[in-house]
């Protein structure tokens, strides 16, 4: 395989290197200049963001590919390089934008916390890995970055490692992700063994058999289920909220979990119809489980986590049923409004939490902030509106795109419309609680400006501005949507769903019911139970069994064999001593006895002479008489 190297674009390596530099430098200077790390990391990220913006402007159309050999396997070469397309460039820009905003936000949010250097280092590393994942031209490199984002996610979820819950959540997140990674690995290996290459440009040009595509597609689906929290591997995401809130915004809402969807979009051509159908089912299931989960929670971060799951399900279903572009568009808008929601939630949590206590995240106790934190709440509400798909927001547009694509399939259309109803319901529920005028028991903290700024930017980004010329039409957004003819009834349906959703929410949640659902109604509970019963307990039992086997059976056989051997050697030793030596001693004794006997012939004792004589006589007599008798 020859390595194509066409377009060298200096901005790409620079953009990727800057967060990596941030990672290294943060660790390097962490111990001594801890205060400098947030500023330095943010500055580096800003520079990186500038690079990605330049790339975005450069590559608004067309693709470019660059690769150098990474390592060689016999005659095959694994290249490392980038493959820029409008989609990947956009995604790269989104990653860097959100990351930059989260960096800025974190300066305020993490102030005074321990381990800041570590925190910013891993944020930088995550940005690097995510950027690499987005632009990489070789799937093996993509896989590396895919694992590395999981690693940084692990480190960041477990940032407050003194809390046992954080450690457990991190482990769980990593292991569930790892299960998905194995799916991706198997997919790559299948591609390697059947297509002979892992280069994306080469793969796009290749015609693979349907069977291969199904197998590869299902494996990739497993991968994206792990990474993007699809059913049934979604239960790690609510737990991952144990990490710092900005991390949840960046990794577990906007970018990393979207990486699965992004990969799905990128590798859409590798999916057969069957695999797509499975993906659609998985996506729709996730959509409902997530939506239901969001309705059952009172922890604001968990609501958002389930909402993310639900939206990711929508994206997967959209990619599978509608078009990759429609799914990607939703990914794009979701990144902004969900990051905005998380950052807003973080700001509110910051406002109501008291120092030295566990952070207050329960929406039932977070009301009454309208007077003191108006901007934060407005930004939060705008993002929530975008999530619910209100007109004039980006969310409305991307949802519109999805609905337009499936409008001919009444079943799928109905399902999606129902799902958007659920989305509206939980968004409205959350907002109602937070906007309620219940007074706060204790004094609230002001939210620093450095945290409000990114929030504001994101809420602006959640509006239609900048995406589309028309607030109500998707067609004017991206050229790819031009081909879709508009259908006004779709918009009508979507608006109707919205109105009904808000209405129902108003009816249900106006009085802020505080009753919690029984735990068994929370998806987390039974997914955890399923994980425990299907995977963890059997694995632990099996491992105990193998350990037992190792210690008892294998070693037991060995010990039995050695005891047997020793016993045998004892037996052989006895045989040797008694039987074989016995022969020898018998012979010697006989010889000795014989010698003694014959010595008694000449021992000078008359009686023995006599005895011999008698014996001889006797023998002679017997012999003679015998002869006589038988003559």
């Amino acid at each position: 395989m020859n390595v194509a190297s066409t377009d060298w674009n200096a901005w790409v390596p620079i953009a990727l290197a800057l967060p990596l530099v941030s990672f290294v430098v943060s660790f390097w200077m962490g111990p001594r200049y801890g205060w400098l790390v947030p500023l330095m990391a943010t500055a580096l990220l800003l520079a990186g963001w500038v690079c990605t913006t330049v790339i975005l402007v450069d590559h608004s159309a067309g693709t470019s590919h660059f690769a150098v050999p990474w390592f060689s396997l016999g005659t095959d070469v694994i290249p490392i390089g980038w493959w820029l397309s409008p989609r990947s460039v956009t995604m790269l820009w989104v990653v860097y934008t959100i990351s930059l905003l989260v960096h800025v936000y974190s300066i305020g949010y993490m102030a005074g916390e321990g381990g800041i250097a570590r925190y910013f280092a891993w944020l930088g590393f995550f940005t690097f890995a995510m950027g690499g994942l987005v632009v990489s031209s070789n799937l093996l490199v993509t896989f590396c970055c895919w694992e590395l984002v999981g690693l940084s996610s692990y480190r960041l979820i477990g940032h407050w490692h003194q809390q046992p819950a954080a450690g457990a959540a991190a482990t769980k997140a990593f292991l569930v992700n790892r299960l998905g990674d194995i799916g991706l690995l198997v997919a790559l290996m299948l591609l390697w063994s059947r297509a002979g290459t892992l280069d994306m440009p080469a793969l796009t040009a290749m015609a693979l058999s349907e069977e291969t595509k199904t197998a590869v597609g299902l494996c990739v689906l497993l991968a994206l289920a792990g990474k993007s929290a699809q059913f049934p591997l979604l239960h790690w995401l609510p737990d991952a909220m144990a990490g710092p809130t900005p991390v949840s915004a960046l990794i577990h809402a906007a970018t990393m979990v979207a990486a699965g969807v992004y990969l799905f979009v990128q590798l859409h051509f590798l999916f057969s119809a069957d695999a797509l159908a499975v993906a659609a089912v998985v996506g729709l299931l996730t959509l409902f489980v997530g939506g239901w989960g969001a309705l059952t929670q009172f922890d604001v971060k968990k609501i958002l986590a389930y909402s993310t799951i639900s939206q990711l399900g929508l994206m997967v279903a959209g990619v599978a049923l509608a078009s990759p572009e429609a799914g990607f568009a939703h990914l794009f808008t979701h990144a902004f409004f969900k990051a905005g929601l998380f950052l807003g939630a973080g700001a509110l949590i910051h406002a109501v939490s008291r120092h030295g206590h566990a952070p207050q995240q329960d929406i039932r106790h977070m009301g009454g902030l309208w007077q003191s934190h108006r901007l934060v709440l407005v930004c939060f509400a705008v993002c929530a509106a975008s999530l619910a798909g209100m007109p004039l927001t980006s969310g409305f547009l991307s949802k519109e795109g999805l609905l337009l694509h499936v409008r001919h399939h009444s079943f799928y259309f109905g399902v999606m419309a129902t799902a958007s109803f659920v989305t509206t319901l939980y968004s409205a529920r959350m907002v109602f609680y937070l906007l309620s005028p219940t007074p706060q028991a204790a004094a609230t903290h002001p939210v620093p400006a450095i945290m409000q700024l990114p929030l504001f930017v994101l809420s602006v980004g959640s509006l239609f501005i900048g995406l589309s010329a028309s607030p109500l039409s998707i067609q004017s957004w991206w050229p790819v949507f031009d081909a879709i003819e508009s259908a006004p009834w779709v918009m009508v349906v979507s608006l109707a769903v919205l109105v009904v959703g808000v209405g129902v929410a108003w009816r249900l949640y106006r009085h802020r019911p505080t009753a919690t659902l029984h735990a068994r109604w929370v998806p987390q509970t039974w997914l955890d139970a399923a994980q425990k019963h299907i995977a963890v307990t059997p694995a632990l039992q099996a491992s105990r069994l193998t350990h037992h086997a190792d210690r008892r059976w294998l070693d037991g056989v060995l010990h039995a064999a050695s005891y047997g051997y020793v016993t045998c050697s004892f037996v052989i030793g006895w045989v040797d001593r008694v039987l074989i030596d016995g022969w020898v001693t018998t012979v010697t004794h006989a010889a000795k006895g014989g010698g003694k006997l014959f010595r008694s012939l000449v021992n000078g004792k008359i009686q023995s002479y006599l005895a011999w004589g008698m014996l001889a006589l006797l023998s002679f007599m017997v012999w003679m008489l015998y002869q006589l008798a038988h003559r």
Partner: protein, 103 residues
């Protein structure tokens, strides 16, 4: 009449016991006694078979001579034993080791 073969068995028994004593006893006098027994066994046979050929009388005559010999032997034997006993201060033939090679 007494069955000849019963007499024969008796004489065989005498002989055997005589030989046994000859071989096993550690006292010279008892060995002498054993010898007497052997001679008597022979005598018994002589006399018994003389019955078979009674007119020849060779058996009985022979028995007379045997008895004479036995007396001679007993007299000389006891004398030798006494002398040896004096010499070696023992009547146990094992300890009379003149015949034995110096070990």
């Amino acid at each position: 009449m007494i069955a000849t073969h019963h007499i024969f068995i008796l004489s065989a028994l005498l002989l055997s016991v005589g030989v046994f004593m000859l071989l096993t006893k550690r006292n010279a006098i008892l060995i002498l006694m054993g010898l007497e027994l052997i001679l008597n066994a022979a005598n018994l046979n002589l006399i018994a078979f003389n019955q078979r050929y009674a007119d020849a009388l060779a058996g009985e005559a022979m028995a007379v001579f045997v008895i004479v010999l036995a007396v001679c032997e007993a007299a000389v034997g006891v004398a030798i034993i006494l002398q040896a006993y004096r010499h070696y201060a023992t009547a146990v033939p094992d300890q009379i080791s003149e015949l034995k090679d110096p070990a």
